[in-house]
């Protein structure tokens, strides 16, 4: 082998090594800010007539007739009983004399937009529902079911005190927080169940379209309205209820409410809706 051939061979080897290293490096990069920007752009491009803050109204932002129905419904909102119950529960002291207000910043008023957050001590995502039950347990009270009734009432009241405040989810510079965000993203896009649907199959690829009688909500802003009164449920439901029922509808066995994957999913979905206002509690068909 002459010198020129050897140089070419070495150059080729280096070029291949570099080329091989590039995609791996790009694939390993987790950049939530870039993801959130692309996520919001996707929806605003897809629905140029819908204002960014209107995406929090779910299917009502996608269809004029439904929007009118919703405006009328809001005069006597079906979540009102739950909201009143939540307000009362929130104010009532535990047996030890303390209350929910003692567990949260600013006495729990106007803080919904900061949940979920990443707890660097625990290394995990803390949702509002989880924080409420931990608050109860820390004060000697039994936890509530995560899916409806009391939990829906409490989160309805806390969301109400944050109405209009933009989601402000933080991702600290901690590899575990980035991993939680990425895990949530993966869960969101992963197909599961016999119907082979991911969350994105409905809420990214088909918002505004009908699935049976329902108009699918866009994923952007989908958690801002939680908890919700759903006519289909005949009552209130929390974010946990939304996730588990979505799984069941695709014929997938749901995970336990507040399992790590669901917490990470909530973290991801909330973060990519940063800047959009809290509108909960909401009502949906």
């Amino acid at each position: 082998m002459n010198v020129r051939s050897a140089i070419h061979l070495v150059s080729l080897g280096l070029a291949l090594a570099f080329a091989a290293a590039q995609p791996a490096a790009a694939a390993d990069t987790i950049d939530p800010a870039v993801d959130a920007k692309a996520f919001q752009k996707y929806f605003t491009d897809k629905f140029p007539k819908v204002k960014l803050e209107d995406f929090v109204n779910g299917p009502y932002s996608m269809n004029e007739d439904m929007h009118r129905q919703w405006e009328e419904k809001e005069e006597f909102p079906p979540y009102e009983f739950s909201l009143d119950m939540g307000k009362e529960m929130f104010a009532k002291p535990f047996k030890n004399g303390k209350s929910y207000a003692d567990c949260f910043a600013n006495g729990g008023i106007g803080v919904r937009q900061n949940y979920p957050y990443f707890d660097e001590k625990e290394g995990k995502v803390i949702t509002l529902e989880l924080a409420l039950n931990r608050c109860r347990e820390a004060n000697g009270e039994p936890p509530f079911s995560y899916v409806k009734d009391e939990m829906a009432a409490l989160t309805a009241y806390m969301a109400f005190t944050s109405r209009g405040k933009p989601f402000d989810i933080k991702i600290p510079n901690d590899p575990r927080a980035l991993e939680a965000f990425e895990t949530g993203k993966q869960y969101f896009y992963t197909r599961r169940g016999q119907l082979n649907f991911s969350c994105a199959s409905c809420h990214v690829q088909n918002p505004g379209e009908r699935i049976r009688a329902e108009i699918l909500a866009p994923a952007l802003g989908i958690l801002n309205a939680m908890p919700i009164y759903r006519s289909e449920w005949g009552g209130m439901g929390t974010i946990s209820r939304r996730f588990t029922t979505c799984n069941v509808q695709t014929r997938s066995v749901p995970l336990d409410p507040q399992s790590d994957e669901y917490r990470d999913l909530e973290y991801y979905l909330s973060y990519v809706s940063n800047g959009l206002p809290i509108s909960g509690p909401g009502a949906r068909p």
């Binding site: 993801d35 692309a38 996520f39 996707y42 993203k185 993966q186 896009y189 992963t190 197909r191 599961r192 169940g193 016999q194 082979n196 991911s198 994105a200 199959s201 990214v204 690829q205 069941v248 014929r251 997938s252 066995v253 995970l255 994957e261």
Partner: protein
């Protein structure tokens, strides 16, 4: 009846006879309790793999419950058939979970 029609009728009869024969064959070799136990254990194993991958299907659980119910009633043919269906469903969910480890990226918004 023309020759072509006759041939078609004979073929159809042969096909029907073959299908009836295939349908009747489980009755000829009726399944035993041991057959059910083996088929059910295979289905449960496959479903455990799906659980490890966090991707079990509700229909697998339904088929497993159906298999158990049929076995309790002494209908081992049905119990084996339901067990095999559960195993096939569980294996499909394992395949889904495995392929989605990378495939999910194709759906991501960029």
């Amino acid at each position: 009846m023309s020759m072509i029609h006759s041939k078609a009728s004979i073929s159809m009869l042969a096909l029907m006879a073959a299908l009836l024969g295939a349908g009747a064959s489980p009755a000829l070799g009726a399944a035993s309790e041991d057959d059910f136990k083996a088929a059910y254990a295979a289905a449960v194993d496959a479903n455990k793999q799906a659980a490890q991958l966090r991707d079990q299907w509700t229909v697998t659980a339904t088929a497993l419950a159906g298999a158990k119910k049929a076995a309790d009633a002494g209908d081992f043919d049905k119990a084996v058939a339901e067990s095999k269906e559960a195993e096939a469903l569980a294996k499909a969910s394992v395949f889904q979970a495995t392929s989605e480890k990378d495939a999910w990226k194709a759906m991501e918004i960029h």
